[in-house]
């Protein structure tokens, strides 16, 4: 209540007294003026001293009394109005604070001296409780059973010497202290939500004890102690008057913070485990190049113990880079090795540092070097083999030239320089043997070139009909000695020019056809050419002895030959089909075998029809690579 309203109130009271006095005087004068006036003898004819009429005096005082009364009423009324205004303002402030208390997300509570709730803000609904249902319950009602001891007076206040249990055996709480800082800060406690008793949330308590005069009977006002943020007792109160009134405090939900902290700790532990178990050596080097941390792998890698490493100078320029850098590292005292070093910027002890990971690659480097050496050796060996074969071929060809040349010459010139029958036969055999030897040399060269990857493909565009006719001509030459075998061509009509390496196709077909003729004693060998779904199929069919099921794959292997019935070995090198298959694959196609034992067999050469390949040139000579057609053989 301010000064002015007090004045108004006092003035109001004074006014009423004045009004009452004036009115009383008026009534006295009225009495004096009454007739028959009992005191007529004293006051002649109702007049005082003969000239003041009592009636008039009475009127004057009555009027005065009425005036005072009116003024007093006005003042009283003003006082009442002021008071109403103050009350309104007060209730508005209370509403404001109530709203504030209910809006704060932290639970704001008030405990009575017995530790029971007297007030809770609506924020407690986050735990599933209604504020009203908790009022009257002891604080420990919402605390996780395991934490009740932790928030008890005895635990929180080490110097507390009083009773540890309060009313009805409930533990005395943390904030029931009498002196000093009565605030309690950052007390962590687990709270049990109503709807999930097994679960809990983390709360952080801040509270202040309330001490002061207990409200006297009839006293409606409350006097809170320690509501200030500092929680200190603000006003001197004599000990006799001090009384514990309870406490007021907040509970802050720190579940999320705890969870984050826990996650952080877990990930920290996980990373520590990773670093400790890492196969790479990991070091933390500060900006002066001093090792501050080393994991076990770094010890192993650098052949030094952690205590030797820590504090030692890392000894290498540490520069943050994008990739791995190969560095020489000292392995112990004498050895050196190679390691891949990766550096990332890091922080150690709040200062700039580097995280250095070392991956030892000494063995790998050695292996790479060995591999390179082995590769070079293999290449050299391969080169040597190719050179050897080329030289061998040259050395064998030179005498072979004489053998074939002379025997051919002698046979050709037999009309002018006749030979007897014996000589003719033997020289014919010399020629055949020479030619067989030549074929062997050619095919061994071929296979070594295929194996060394030295065969190059020269695509040309050519007429399939001419190619087929060439094969037929060759086949007919071979059939001179086999009157019971026929060769037929079956080429699809309207085939466009075909692009492939013609010399290689020719070589394959020649090999297949001569093979087929060799193994057919009676019947027919057919060359079929068909278009098939982007490919061109060359099939050579015979009705010779065929190839047993279990030999179908083997025929394409080196030096494999099918035995003729009766154990007679066929002539040939056993390389023709291997070469043909390799060449077919080099041309992007395939060579496959379909055969029925005793009913002949069919070799099918499937080549991709690549019409858009730019051919190098049109080569019209159908001559094998070595100037001499290969004769085929079955293997």
């Amino acid at each position: 209540m301010d000064h002015e309203s007090d004045e108004t109130k006092r003035a109001g009271r004074g006014g009423i007294v004045h009004a009452a006095v004036a009115t009383a005087a008026g009534f006295i004068f009225l009495l004096l003026a009454a007739e028959p006036w009992p005191l007529k003898g004293v006051f002649a004819e109702g007049r005082l001293l003969g000239w003041i009429e009592f009636q008039q005096l009475a009127l004057v005082f009555l009027a005065l009394g009425a005036g005072f009364a009116g003024a007093s009423l006005v003042r009283w009324r003003r006082f009442l109005e002021e008071r109403r205004g103050i009350e309104r303002a007060l209730s508005g402030q209370v509403e404001q604070y109530t709203t504030l208390v209910q809006t704060i997300p932290d639970v704001i509570y008030e405990l009575g001296p017995d530790g029971r709730f007297t007030f809770l803000s609506d924020a407690v609904r986050r735990l599933g409780y209604e504020p009203q249902e908790l009022v009257g319950e002891h604080f420990s009602y919402i605390v996780h059973p395991a934490d009740i001891v932790a928030v008890s007076c005895a635990s929180v206040l080490p110097k507390y010497k009083g009773k540890t249990t309060g009313d009805a055996g409930a533990p005395k709480l943390f904030d029931e202290r009498r002196s000093g800082d009565r605030g309690t800060r950052n007390l962590e406690v687990r709270l049990v939500p109503k709807d999930a008793p097994a679960d809990y949330v983390y709360g952080e308590l801040h509270s202040s004890a309330r001490w002061g005069r207990k409200a006297r009977r009839g006293e409606t006002g409350r006097w809170y102690a320690g509501v200030h943020a500092s929680g200190k007792w603000g006003q001197p109160v004599s000990d006799g008057e001090k009384q514990f009134l309870g406490s007021i405090g907040i509970i802050r939900d720190i579940t999320e913070r705890k969870r984050l902290a826990r996650n952080l700790e877990a990930s920290h532990e996980a990373f520590q485990a990773i670093v400790a178990k890492s196969a790479d050596g990991i070091l933390i080097v500060d900006s002066e190049g001093v090792v501050r941390y080393a994991n076990p792998a770094a010890e192993t890698l650098l052949r030094r113990t952690t205590s030797e490493l820590l504090g030692s100078t890392f000894g290498l320029p540490v520069v943050v880079g994008n990739g791995a850098e190969e560095v020489d590292v000292c392995l112990g005292a004498a050895e050196t090795g190679v390691a891949e070093m990766r550096v990332v910027g890091s922080v150690w002890d709040r200062k700039k540092a580097y995280l250095v990971s070392l991956h030892e690659i000494t063995d790998r480097k050695q292996m790479e070097a060995d591999l390179e050496e082995a590769k070079e050796a293999a290449e050299a060996a391969n080169q040597a083999k190719t050179e050897f074969l080329a030289n061998m071929s040259h050395e064998l060809r030179t005498p072979l030239n004489a053998i074939i040349g002379f025997s051919e010459g002698l046979l050709q010139r037999a009309d002018r320089h006749p030979l007897n029958e014996h000589q003719n036969d033997r020289i014919g055999k010399v020629l055949l043997s020479g030619q067989h030897l030549l074929m062997l040399i050619n095919q061994i060269l071929d296979i070594s070139k295929v194996e060394a990857g030295q065969v190059t493909i020269h695509p040309t565009t050519f007429d399939v009909y001419r190619l087929a006719a060439g094969v037929q001509g060759m086949a007919e030459a071979l059939l001179r000695d086999k009157p019971d075998v026929a060769f037929t061509l079956d080429v699809e009509d309207d085939l466009p020019p075909f692009t492939s390496d013609r010399d290689k196709v020719w070589q394959i077909l020649l090999n297949l056809v001569s093979n087929a003729l060799k193994f057919t004693e009676r019947g027919c060998v057919t060359l079929r050419v068909r278009r098939d779904d982007g490919r061109l199929l060359f099939s050579i069919e015979d009705n010779g002895i065929g190839i047993p099921e279990d030999k179908r794959t083997a025929v394409f292997e080196k030096f494999e030959q099918v035995q003729r019935p009766g154990g007679q070995c066929t002539e040939g090198t056993g390389l023709g089909l291997t070469i043909s298959k390799s060449l077919a694959e080099l041309l992007g196609g395939s060579l496959t075998l379909g055969s029925v034992q005793d009913h002949g067999c069919t070799f099918t050469l499937a080549l991709p029809r690549v019409w858009d390949v730019e051919p190098t040139s049109e080569n019209e000579t159908l001559v094998g690579q070595y100037g001499c057609a290969h004769s085929g053989e079955r293997k």
Binding site: R397, T398, N401, G405, Y626, G627
Partner: protein, 165 residues
């Protein structure tokens, strides 16, 4: 009579080709050399219409000899056929790069080689008949004697026979 020069160090191979000239009607005389140096000398001396060149020779090889022949204006126009036991593609390419006009691998098909030689000599004779060789007008139309002169062994048969055998 046209002359064909054979450069070949292997006696047997020489004989095979010499037999062709002796028994089959090539229509030209054969002169043989066994080394590159000899080949250059004989080429300048005899002005052969064709040189058959082995590649592997003692000392200077056939490729080098071919290059020297092609560099010498006196012999540059003479066609050179390589006749060699080197059969790889790269050998073929090397020979063509050195200036060889053709490449025949050993062992050659003697019927085919004989045919080609006969064909070459006939073509050469036809060309020579149209443009008589300068400085030798009296010996014009040697082509007439091609077939009959097949067996002849040139101006000094004794020497050549020794060389070729």
């Amino acid at each position: 009579m046209n002359t064909i020069l054979l450069v070949e160090d292997d006696m047997a191979c020489r004989t095979v080709i010499a037999d062709m000239f002796e028994f089959d009607d090539i229509g030209a005389d054969l002169v043989c050399a066994t080394t590159a140096e000899e080949a250059l000398e004989l080429a300048r001396h005899f002005k052969p219409v064709l040189i058959l060149m082995d590649i592997r020779l003692p000392g200077t090889d056939g490729l080098e000899a071919t290059r020297m022949l092609k560099d010498d204006p006196r012999t540059a126009d003479i066609p050179v056929w390589a006749i060699t036991a080197y059969v790889l593609t790269e050998d073929h390419e090397k020979a063509l790069a050195a200036g060889c006009d053709d490449y025949i691998t050993k062992p050659f098909d003697s019927i085919a080689l004989k045919g080609r030689l006969q064909e070459f000599v006939a073509e050469h004779a036809a060309v020579s008949a149209e443009e008589p060789a300068e400085g030798a007008p009296g010996e014009a139309q040697p082509g007439l004697s091609i077939r009959e002169g097949g067996c002849k062994q040139g101006p000094r048969p004794g020497r050549l026979r020794r060389r070729c055998r």
